[in-house]
Symmetry: C2
Subunit: 159 residues, 2 copies
C-alpha cells in the first residue's frame, strides 16, 4: 500500500476568532477516529516527531477529561481539557488549554467525514474569544506541529 501525500489546509476565519484545519486521510472514519481516542495510538502521532508524549490522564468519552505532556530537549509542555462530546466515528467536541498560557481556552470541534473509497476528511476547528489570541496561536509555530503530526498519523494508518 502506498500513502498519498496530503495537504493540510489551515484557514483563519475572517468573521470569528476561529482556525479551521482540513486534512484528508487514506483510511475510513472509524480508524481515523480511533487514532484520536485510543491513548496508545494518539501518543504515536500527536505533535512533532522530536517530542515525547507522556500522559497524566486521557479519558476520551463524553464528560471525560485529559492532560498530557510533550517533552522536548529537557523542556516539558502541559496540555489539558475536557471532552464535551465524543460521538463514535463522527465528532469530538473538547476544550484545550496550553498550561503555559493557563487562562487561554479553546473550544475545539473535530468532524470525521466519510468521503468514500475508504477515505476520511477531518475538519478541526478551534474557537477562542479574541482575534489577537487566535492570530498569536497561528503565529506560534503550531502549523509545523500540526503538519508533522498528520504525517505521522498517515504513517500509523498505513502501517
Amino acid at each position: 500500500m502506498t500513502t498519498s501525500t496530503h495537504e493540510t489546509e489551515i484557514i483563519s476565519d475572517p468573521h470569528v476568532p476561529l482556525v479551521r484545519i482540513i486534512r484528508e486521510f487514506d483510511a475510513p472514519p472509524e480508524r481515523v477516529f480511533r487514532a484520536h481516542t485510543d491513548p496508545e495510538l494518539f501518543a504515536r502521532w500527536n505533535g512533532p516527531r522530536r517530542h515525547v508524549m507522556r500522559y497524566d490522564h486521557f479519558d476520551c468519552r463524553t464528560g471525560g477529561s485529559y492532560r498530557y505532556l510533550l517533552e522536548s530537549a529537557g523542556n516539558e509542555y502541559g496540555f489539558r481539557g475536557c471532552f464535551h462530546e465524543v460521538r463514535p466515528s463522527e465528532l469530538i467536541v473538547q476544550t484545550f488549554t496550553f498550561e503555559g498560557l493557563p487562562d487561554g481556552v479553546a473550544l475545539e470541534r473535530l468532524i470525521f467525514e466519510d468521503i468514500g473509497n475508504g477515505r476520511t476528511r477531518l475538519t478541526a476547528t478551534s474557537l477562542v474569544d479574541s482575534f489577537e489570541g487566535r492570530d498569536a496561536f497561528v503565529a506560534s509555530g503550531m502549523e509545523e506541529g500540526v503538519r508533522e503530526g498528520y504525517q505521522r498519523l498517515d504513517e500509523l494508518l498505513a502501517g
Copy 2:
C-alpha cells in the same frame, strides 16, 4: 438584612460572537461561587421560577461534567456540558449545550470578583462560533431566565 435590587447587564460583544452578563451580589465570592458548584444550592436558583430542576449528574470540579433537566408545564429541557476548570471562589470555565439544539456548544467563563464590603461582581461570558447563533440565543428569551434566576440567587444569599 435587606437585599438591594441589582441590574443584570447583558451585552452582545460587537467584535466576537460572545454574550457578556454582569451582575453584582450582596455576598462574598466564596458564597456566590458555592451557590454555583454545590448541586443542592444551584438547583434552588438556576433558571426561571416556574421550572423544576432535576439532575442527571452534576460533578462540578476541573475535569468533571454535568447534565440536568428543567421541567415546566409537562415539558422537559435538557442541558449538559463539561467543566474545563473550577478554581475555588475565582473562576469556572465550562461548556454548555441545550439538548434541543445538540450541535450548538458554548464555551462559558464565570469570573467571581471581590468588590469589597462583602460583595461580588460576577461576569459570565458565553462564546459560540457564529454571530447568528449568538443573536438567536439572546433573542430566545434567555434574558428572562437569567434575570429571574439571579433574583432567586439574591434571595438564597439573603436567607
